[in-house]
């Protein structure tokens, strides 16, 4: 490692190089920059690095050793012997400095005048973190990791990383919107598997679908302008609307999905193939009403298609985008659930007129694609047929879990209205009781070692609560045991 000290600044403050080096090293040790046991460079290396004589360095090492800051081990080198007082305790501590000496104590309270945007962000509800829950977790949205074809993915990755240097120069950086081959691969997939007439030029590769949603909000919505969101919906939608200073219009959801209305709004977020979280499929009549509304209002429909690849039985689910004759729909898809969340690649299919604004918005945050190596890996993985093979395999596994879960649910149907569904990676049910009885049920569930995701809908008097059972990250045995515990929790005592 290159060992670096603040020698330049110290040599301005001290009359001799020896004193400068002494204080630079001593302060760094006291401040905990190098912890006890860290090996210092040889006197020769340090002398060369800072343009000092070796005698100077030897003298400083000797002084610090005699003072107990350093320790020498014959033939092994010189080591830090001093343990900084608070180097372990104060976790988020701040930048370099002589801790505990002449520093003000309120450093981490340094005043920052944040922008109005940041103040708004800080007031938004935060994202739940992990909390070490150890029971059966229907709240985990992680995929079944055991199915991931590591060998095939890795072979593609290796080949792509190797090949990067051999690309023509202009292909190495690539377009802000992402690797061309991947955009072509996704367009081809959407044309063949989802019936969408999509060109690669319209496709923007993003990290996760949330990135696309947040950027779209910033592009489309000005301060105070209204945007429609389903109730209930993924919480990120409302965060994105609020961060863009938009005003959220709550739209009702029933068994046929979003209930259309003649909103005075610039955009609507909708999950037509499977309403999130209820799972309702938007009826054809409503799809047409929504498209008509967007055309008349010159509004944008953002279609989030988060898990409809996973059809377990019945008819194919058709994206709303298929019916979009007027280029009013932005279709957002993702590989997070079909690959791994740690290879987080999503995409947006943009109407032609939004391609350039979206490119500029992305480019502001990063002009070049952020994970080109993995984008190219995915392109190769798709081209070789691995992606669809993997998808088929996951579908089999998830369909089995889905069948088992839907078979178990009637045992607790007394307390729930389960929403019927033929697809997706979770099952949704409305709690039949009151807000209070739901809270007690949830509490008993935690106590019995089972938890789930939940959604709520504000009613005129009472809020309605729903449970969302993700079945991807639980085994079949856990699934049965989880439902048994939920039943016990629902029945009380």
């Amino acid at each position: 490692v290159q060992f670096q000290i603040a020698f330049a600044s110290y040599s301005e403050k001290h009359p001799t190089k020896t004193l400068a080096l002494y204080h630079a090293l001593r302060d760094a040790i006291v401040a905990g920059v190098w912890t006890r046991g860290t090996r210092l460079p040889s006197t020769r290396d340090l002398a060369v690095q800072y343009g000092l004589s070796r005698g100077t360095v030897n003298q400083v090492y000797d002084t610090l050793t005699s003072e107990g800051y350093l320790q020498s081990a014959t033939g092994r080198g010189t080591f830090v012997a001093f343990e900084a007082a608070d180097s372990a305790g104060d976790a988020v501590s701040g930048a370099s400095g002589e801790k505990g000496t002449d520093l003000p104590h309120n450093r981490s309270q340094a005043a920052y005048r944040l922008s109005p945007w940041a103040s708004r962000l800080v007031s938004l509800p935060s994202i739940d973190g992990a909390d070490g829950f150890e029971g059966i977790d229907f709240g985990s949205h992680l995929p079944d990791y055991s199915t991931f074809p590591h060998e095939e993915w890795n072979r593609c990755y290796y080949a792509q990383v190797r090949a990067l240097g051999k690309l023509p120069r202009e292909r190495r950086d690539s377009d802000t919107l992402g690797d061309w081959q991947l955009r072509e691969g996704i367009a081809q997939y959407l044309r063949r598997a989802r019936g969408m007439a999509v060109q690669p030029e319209q496709i923007a590769i993003v990290g996760g679908s949330m990135q696309a949603i947040a950027l779209l909000m910033q592009l489309l919505v000005g301060p105070g302008e209204p945007v429609v969101a389903e109730t209930p919906a993924y919480s990120g939608i409302r965060r994105a609307i609020q961060a863009a200073q938009g005003r959220c219009i709550d739209a009702e959801v029933d068994g046929d999905g979003l209930v259309p209305a003649d909103w005075d709004a610039k955009a609507v977020f909708v999950t037509p193939t499977r309403q999130f979280p209820t799972g309702a499929v938007l009826s054809l009549e409503r799809r047409q009403a929504l498209l008509r509304w967007a055309r008349e209002r010159e509004a944008v429909i953002v279609e989030d298609d988060y898990d409809s690849e996973f059809r377990h039985r019945g008819r194919s689910l058709e994206p709303l985008k298929v019916l979009d004759r007027d280029d009013r729909v932005v279709y957002v898809g993702s590989f997070t659930k079909t690959l791994l969340p740690s290879i987080r690649i999503g995409y947006a299919v943009l109407p032609p007129a939004l391609v350039e604004p979206f490119r500029r918005a992305m480019g502001l945050y990063e002009p070049y694609p952020v994970h080109l190596a993995e984008q190219r890996t995915l392109a190769a993985f798709m081209a070789a047929g691995h992606y669809e093979r993997h998808l088929r395999r996951m579908k089999r596994i998830y369909s089995r879990k889905f069948a088992l879960l839907t078979q178990l649910l009637p045992s607790i149907s007394g307390q729930f209205d389960w929403v019927e569904s033929d697809a997706g990676l979770h099952v949704f049910g409305w709690w039949r009781g009151t807000e209070e009885s739901y809270a007690a049920f949830r509490e008993r569930g935690r106590h019995l070692g089972v938890r789930w995701s939940e959604a709520s809908m504000q009613g005129p008097e009472q809020s309605r609560y729903g449970v969302l059972l993700n079945f991807t990250d639980v085994t079949e045995a856990e699934l049965a045991e989880g439902v048994r515990r939920m039943k016990q929790a629902a029945e009380g005592e």
Copy 2:
């Protein structure tokens, strides 16, 4: 592949399933959803998928075959025989639909009312794209790909992707700010190699450093608020300030870097270790003045340290952050130049009080780290010592090129003031002539097959121009030839 058609919507419009299927398939073929040669599913598969009798599907396939839309090859299946008229021509064409039939022709001109933010973005200067230049390119900022240790990187990646499923649940998603092990690895590296007392909690992993800069601007700057930027500077800085609606104050740069002043501003962008692009090192006196200013004004200093790992001779370059006693400095670093741009990982070292606002801003765009697999790979790569070994190897290669280039430059010193530098990945020189003579020089250079990056500084009467010679992506032979061509271009005729 799952083959999907808009059957549901067609079956509402047509009296029989046969007619619905016929029109759904025919329209998709005419619209170019499936191109000539695409293989259709077997009649049996399609029947199952849409709940039709096999006879219905057979009948439709036969009709379409007799009409020339489809073609059968015995034992191989049924293929699309029709070539959609405009499927290749109109590149960015839009969503599904019966092209050329009843569609309005102005689809890609669909009106979108963009937000004020988006309108501002569209008016900003765009980012230069690749243009197929084939000469010697000192404008390429790409690294030398030949040095990248593919085997070691790939071994780490493979191990990490495999291990992801075995992580405890709460580690799989990870913090918005990035993988903990990587944050620890970077903190350790900065402590040891750069003399910065940094804790992993303060580190945010981003895609490229531009992401950190744009987010910081949004966090810190409200509409109309002033921010200081060096002149010249990386153009992304001004884009970020303008996108956040900030007002840019131009700060002068001379041979000792940024010239401090008592700006009435919320933040300053500075490149203290090597001013971009001139390469000037900010003097200690100015560093102290800058820190004093930030403390008094309660402002933030954003330090962009883009290439000072590459020291070729002389003293170590010390980050400004080392002197930051008051937590006013955000240090931005990146692995883009030390690894590969296709593995674009950067980071920001945040003052403790900015950690949570930054986490929320990142989380708005994506609550989970976007390339966790590669983040963990880098952590393992660093822990195994591969990173520093790779860095040493690159330093040797780049130092050779640097030595060669600085040896060649005196041959064209008549027209340039070369800025002396001991570090970095480019050399900078001011053109001595007028704006007009510079334009002619550049033009002759292009003609002779050599180009470079450039920077300009607006003067009271004339603008001053400078050339920026990146030497990472050119061979030693190209380097010599490139300087020869520049000399020829500079001498005219």
